[in-house]
């Protein structure tokens, strides 16, 4: 979710002059998108033998990871700043920074408490909700419920409910009713990524119903009449008609 709430960025090797926060964002994104940054991959293919390129890429990743761990160390400082006057507008910014840039840092728990206590009327909590879907913070569910109840903004309430449903779904909890409520009550609300919460919830529901249109077909594994094994996934890349039939 981190990638969803940050501005466009430069690749990490080219950001040496940027701010620390910018650096952290770039590094975090580099980690998240590692392996799909085409310029590096193309360079590696063009210039180095594969084994060497792999080792170089691994070293580069390790360096990026270490730096991103250092960057996560900024969360306590942003939190401390906010604690000076938690109700101040700049404190809101600092607290949102903690939750959106370091969503699994231990400081998130306290940041959420302060956000709910002092800033529940802020529209910025919509961003916070999205970051909490994958956060490891134990206070995330409680905070999402509180934001949903206390925010005066329909857009924030909708994103809180959506994030709560998505988060519970990730952990295997039943959240079908919540997705349905998102569709009914907040279907037209923006999901912050150019779509609506309604469409996102519909898609989530479709994936939950294994035989619905839009769901990925379950694997089929078995034998034909001659006892030859074959699988449905052997036919990926083709349009497939499945026909459950009998000659009766």
């Amino acid at each position: 979710m981190l990638g969803a709430v940050i501005p466009p960025f430069l690749p990490p090797a080219r950001t040496s002059g940027s701010s620390l926060q910018g650096r952290f964002i770039s590094l975090a994104v580099a980690v998240l998108t590692l392996g799909v940054v085409p310029t590096y991959a193309d360079q590696d293919r063009a210039e180095k033998p594969l084994g060497e390129a792999y080792q170089a890429l691994e070293r580069e990743f390790e360096a990026a990871r270490k730096k991103s761990e250092e960057a996560a160390g900024y969360a306590p400082r942003f939190l401390k700043l906010a604690e000076r006057d938690p109700a101040a507008p700049a404190a809101l910014e600092a607290l949102v920074w903690v939750v959106t840039q370091a969503p699994s840092a231990p400081e998130v728990e306290r940041a959420l408490e302060l956000l709910v206590a002092h800033h529940h009327a802020s529209e910025k909590l919509g961003l916070v909700c999205s970051s909490l879907i994958a956060s490891r913070s134990p206070g995330a569910v409680r905070a999402l419920r509180a934001i949903g109840e206390r925010s005066p903004h329909r857009a924030v309430k909708g994103r809180a409910l959506w994030a709560l449903a998505a988060r519970l779904h990730r952990t295997g909890a039943a959240s079908q009713q919540m997705f349905e409520e998102v569709i009914q009550t907040y279907g037209d609300v923006s999901d912050g990524h150019g779509g609506t919460l309604g469409a996102a919830a519909e898609a989530a529901l479709a994936r939950m119903r294994p035989f619905a249109i839009g769901a990925t077909a379950l694997e089929i594994e078995g034998e034909d009449l001659e006892g030859k094994k074959f699988r449905l996934s052997d036919y990926r890349g083709k349009v497939v008609v499945l026909d459950f039939w009998g000659d009766w």
């Binding site: 035989f211 089929i220 349009v239 008609v241 009998g246 000659d247 009766w248």
Partner: protein, 101 residues
Amino acid sequence: MYPHERSLVKRMEGKPFALLGINSDPKAALRRAMAREKITWRSWWDGGRTGGPIATRWNVSSWPTTYVLDAQGVIRYKGVREQDMDNAVDTLIAEMERAGK
């Protein structure tokens, strides 16, 4: 079903398409049906009964039941027969051809 499916398979020759059956007959009956109806497409043999493992896993309780999947294995149509099945397949093939260009 058979004549329509035969013509669909024939019409789709050379295209990225497969018709796959999941058959609930005993083996001897399936063998007879395939010969009699000139069935060229493959079927999984689902244990010779309607409560076979594949049908059970797929929650199938009425026959025939059909699904049309796109090239990514996503269910795009269900319960389509005859002309509707043709339209569904044509739509998905056209989608692939557009994406390939």
